[in-house]
Amino acid sequence: MDVLYFAWVRERIGLPKEKVETDAATVSDLVAELSAREDRYAAAFADLSALRVALDQELSDFDAPLTGVREVAFFPPMTGG
């Protein structure tokens, strides 16, 4: 699946988008998998209360299943307007 990062999450991880091969069942599982990879991921995902997640461009939550999901995006709370 495609994993996208925005704002300071993108800066901390150091890339806007990557393809990830995963069997993670939920968003939390995917976060754990990514955090175990490298410090920069662990740093970005250290405080999940400071993050939001979208699945296929719809806001979701960290308990949500990843079945059939093609695009996961992680970002801080939005500041539009």
Binding site: L4, P77, M78, T79, G80, G81
Partner: protein, 147 residues
């Protein structure tokens, strides 16, 4: 209903005029414009606005559709810019047209409240002393509970 996400500036007067000219049944037109505000310190150089192409248009469309369902509206316009903006630049506008002003005002406020916390935009302030992401305010999230 029209949703526009662009990096180019928009002409507030032309947009408001075109929007107001649509339908005689709408006796009330409300427009709101957001402008890049210089910081209290007065040293803001650039406001950088990042967004999530695809999801942005989708989220704005959903918010506008929800407004059309909740209030008696003739039309809704949302324009939101991204990219590098300077103090005084117009970031975004919403406009609502309705037979009655209460619907037009309330729907415009609803659009603004939702757009602040539910549309995937992120602002970064670049000042003479560095760059910093704008943190979301609890008050903005709390504002959604009134709807």
């Amino acid at each position: 209903m029209r949703i526009v996400v662009q990096d180019a500036p928009f002409d507030l007067g032309a947009e408001a005029n075109a929007f107001a000219a649509t339908d005689d049944a709408n006796g009330a037109i409300v427009t709101f414009t957001g402008v890049v505000r210089d910081l209290a310190t007065g040293d803001l150089d650039i406001m950088e606005i990042e967004h999530y192409p695809g999801m942005t248009e989708r989220a704005l469309t959903n918010i506008a559709q929800e407004a059309m369902e909740r209030w008696s509206l003739g039309d809704v316009l949302v324009i939101h810019r991204h990219g590098r903006l300077a103090p005084g630049d117009r970031i975004m506008m919403v406009a609502t047209a309705a037979p009655h002003r209460k619907d037009a005002f309330e729907a415009a406020e609803y659009l603004m409240d939702y757009l602040k916390s539910r549309a995937p935009f992120w602002k970064k302030e670049i000042t003479t002393s560095g760059a910093e992401w704008v943190a979301a305010k609890d008050a903005d999230e709390d504002a959604l509970t009134r709807w």
